[in-house]
Subunit: 361 residues, 4 copies
């Protein structure tokens, strides 16, 4: 790639926005050239705008420190500054939908972390190793919305990656899944900043995360869905039940999964072989953020663990362990992924790489 593609971030000062900056530092394809946020931040350098609320472990990337933050609502300010816009805005659903659409209408490829458009029928919810073919809807999206070069894609909720990729690998190998009951143990960084109060998670866990169970049960259906005409129709042949818990872990969501296949059931060693050999379009296209391998199975009895496994594949791989027969369903296992990398900004960046590689930008 001769020259880097210029990208922007709207909602750049929040926690997700900060993660984008962190992960895009030294990206081989992308270069951050546009940062926008609320009117409060507009006109300040990025460094001034996040003063006292930069929450990443490392420092602000040097190349972004002095970028003047724009008012995200003034779409025209972005024109000429970038081609792809990562959306990390925090507003009410309607406002987000409108804002993201206005960027797309202005010709930008919008890749959103937000849940607002996740169930809009012509907007693909991308899990790049699973449903790269959902990008085929973009021409129709553009057509019916009158967008010339713009487009809009979203990424799913951070809670589902720890199991969706290994489950998909089995489906793809010819073993349809009928039922899944799973329990997540989710890290606090998934709640943004400040997130849960320390007093609530010292010597404690909280067995509830608002809206998380519903997302965990519904979003996979769209990802497993098919394009029919001008919309993506969710899958209807799989039932998911999720129990979502908050635990005192900084990063890394864990899921304990019990799974029932249809009539065709793989043997245990075949499952291991499927996971260990799994590869997707991002790997085939050698996308810079694509982990190789995307699914790592660990033989140790007590893995995966958040602190030891969250950074596998630079935080983009899913680590699986404890595959064993289920006393009630067919199999059970434990999955883990890094919720602010694979589960959030990293997953969105991988999706952006995919649309570049597919020639959509």
């Amino acid at each position: 790639m001769e020259r880097k593609i210029q990208v922007g971030i709207i909602g750049a000062t929040g926690m997700v926005g900060q993660n984008y900056l962190r992960l895009l530092e030294n990206h081989p394809w992308f270069e951050v050239t546009y940062l926008a946020a609320s009117p409060n931040s507009a006109g300040k350098t990025y460094e001034e705008a996040v003063k006292g609320r930069w929450h990443m472990t490392g420092d602000i990337p040097a190349s972004c420190r002095n970028i003047i933050v724009q008012d995200a609502s003034l779409v025209e300010k972005a024109i000429g500054k970038c081609r792809i816009v990562f959306s990390a805005v925090e507003m009410d659903k309607k406002s987000i939908m409108a804002l993201e659409e206005s960027y797309a209408a202005a010709g930008f490829a919008v890749v959103s972390n937000n849940s607002a458009h996740r169930h809009t029928p012509d907007v693909p919810m991308m899990a790049p190793e699973i449903n790269p073919e959902h990008l085929d809807i973009i021409p129709q999206q553009r057509k019916q919305r009158g967008w010339k070069n713009g487009m809009l894609i979203v990424k799913p909720n951070c809670s589902i990656q720890s199991y969706l990729l290994p489950v998909y690998a089995l489906i793809k190998a010819g073993y349809p899944v009928q039922k899944m009951i799973l329990t997540t143990l989710q890290a606090v960084s998934g709640a943004g900043y400040p997130g849960p109060a320390s007093i609530d998670l010292i010597d404690n866990i909280v067995p509830y995360i608002g809206g998380e169970e519903e997302k965990s049960e519904i979003e996979p259906l769209k990802i497993f869905g098919r394009i029919q005409g001008n919309q993506i129709v969710p899958a209807s042949d799989i039932k998911i039940s999720a129990h979502c818990n908050r635990v005192p872990v900084s990063d890394g969501h864990t899921a304990c999964v019990s799974l029932q296949f249809g009539t065709k059931k793989p043997a245990m060693d075949e499952i291991l072989s499927i996971w260990r050999n799994f590869s997707g379009v991002p790997q085939e296209l050698h996308l810079p953020s694509a982990p190789v391998p995307p699914v790592i199975y660990r033989d140790e009895l007590d893995r995966p663990q958040p602190r030891k496994d969250r950074n596998a594949g630079n935080g983009m791989a899913v680590t699986v362990g404890r595959l064993r027969p289920c006393n009630v369903f067919d199999i059970r296992f434990t999955g883990l992924h890094h919720n602010t990398v694979r589960g959030a900004a990293g997953g969105a960046i991988l999706s952006a790489e995919l649309i570049v590689a597919k020639g959509l930008v």
Copy 2:
């Protein structure tokens, strides 16, 4: 009760033994008069014997500090000193079985925390609100083993109380359960002392506890079983699958449960009513350690939580919350109990109170 019943603890210096001392302090019926442990401790005062390894939050009960610790293997030393012996010994399975039997043969009522005898067919595994009628096997136990006044009962593993009592309440109300898939988030105190290393549970969870899933799946079957002839035959009409995790919580095991009924299914409000009105034999007999009510349902969306709910009913109640329909099975909920009280020494003390109230001691 005019005079207190004298009780002893074998394995008194370990973590479970210390919990017995703590919970028996000021007990209205029982008085600790005999403490025994390994030959290393024998001949020392209890205070000397646990010097540097007393791990309870409060101090050693004053009445026990100066009791001379006996060698637990010398059963004759206990004769005349107590009527009930709580067993908290840590040895290999065979030695524990033999030792507990020798105390029973010598005329003591042995109440064991250990797993060694849990699946011995004529030894009841007591969950006093659930299977008090299993004590009816004691006459046969005595007869076939040639024990005159002695007897042996055990308590189940600490991982199962958070859901077994609420599930039993539903079964008792006429709604048989067919399938259960559950995930536990277990406290470190369940592993004794020292238990898990701090480095393994800072910013981390461990998705594995050796042997715990098997116990969680098999023990409820015996508790739900029936006496047939001279043995307790486990139930066979319920299937359980358990995922057991260790989390950075000091005390309090949490379980996320999905549950499938048979053809008869209760409505949500009926379930709440069943739980709120549930009462068992220990409550009817006004046993001193029996929590009233035994099951507490909390309406708050984010309860039960270990730090807030583990001490409900002096650590003897089970707290339940988040009852809602399950997307795959019929219902799901979260349960919680105090693992070193209800789940260990407290549960055993309640069982001892039951055998006293039933006239077996």
Copy 3:
């Protein structure tokens, strides 16, 4: 005491206010009859007013659940409802000063947790075992302010009790202290709710608490001060330097203290004897909340510890350990107290008991 004294809480819905309710439940002398907060809460029952933000481990005391919350700024609403008002309001300093004064002017004995009036010269900052004679200023306070029966006292910051009581015991025994350098490890509950974000204290400590070091260095001087004319003049013969840190502990502030005496220096065993025999006016008067003994010295090398020692004396005792010579100053030791009991509401309740026993109410 024939009939209980009626007390009120202003700022009753906040974290400190909730602690007052918790600690006043079943108080032998006091009965909560008046609860006030911001206009938002006014007119609701207390239960409604704190719905979703009751953060105590136990439930709302039954006797307070249905009290109608008043608007704290309408002092006249309190008249006839109570005699003592505990102030836990959260506003700007000026407003707090004015509000507390208006309650005192209306005839109430105001006992405040807030820092606003801590350095007002005629307002005693009470540490009941240390400076009970500071109450002698009340007649002058009333006179110069024109208050008939009203009065105003405050309690010091929660960070200082873990060492101030043991240090005072030495001073009182004839060993003036010249210099103190200390480091605190403070619990998150000291910051109210929500307090520090969980993400900031998982696998982490924060070496800064805004304003805390200054309070820790200045407040002891007033407590050790003397009444001269119509004001309390701070001591000037002791210098304190404090490093304050936030650590992932729920309750219980720890302090590591190095201390330099004047020319008179006690031997180590004399210090232990002084601490073990220390008693103050609250103990002599048998005040209901006065811990006996007020200072507990533990011989174990690794004590005091927050989880094991914070509840000593029902959270009102100070636990000390690790007394040893200091390589630079004379001695060093570690102190610990429960920050939301002795360090906050509990300390204020003890002060209120003192003014009752002294006949000021």
Copy 4:
């Protein structure tokens, strides 16, 4: 460097040994070719020897997995296999002293993590930025012990680096320090594996670490000492008092330091300038593990923090913050370093690089 220098690790299977392997992976100068441990491990591949007890976050370096572990007591097995031996053995003091000496006698340059030889007068205790000139004693060490090419150096305890480097920078700039009182908040990894029990550090801190305060007070004196004749004579003009605490942090020791200068006292801005411009021999020699800069001062009020700052300079830099006047001494500040990198194996590797650069190997 044309070919890498071969190095060995004795005590390779323990926690410190594992850290050496981790930090030496891909080292530009060194290549691990010899691994030795107890007889139990001898004859196994390294992978087999650490099975079930590899505690690093990443996997065993591929280049070491199949090295056959030797019996560390058989020094002759090392001959021809390496030039430098890192000692991480865990035995009694006498045995360690003898073993390390026998490796040195056999011609190896021994760099030890262990405390056994720290106060041997002709063995330098290296803090490479502070006392590189202590290596000048090596010729005399060799002469008086009859060692031809062998030598022995040790590294200091892990608790002192967070403040020793910044303090030394001030001394070197012409501001001798007379007194220091400090409190450490130390990570659990400093205690090896398993280290503190989880139950002891959940919602808790432990105000005691055996032997740590003494080391923190005595070791700096030798590091600040001078060679006189054939021994290193400790400094005697500085007094240190240390309070050492264990906190629930995985990696990263924090120290809160109050410091008294002699008559010459630097201004605050001069101190900042001294720290920001500080550089040592390791930096001048461009040693591969030398952090540039070695001391990082952070302006944020709430830094340094373990989770955010421990990895600065690849874990080899010391981060300082909160410089301010002390109410009792002259100044105070907070320092932090990574205890298992700069404070242990990383510090030893830097020392080994220094002896190579100095031509001693």
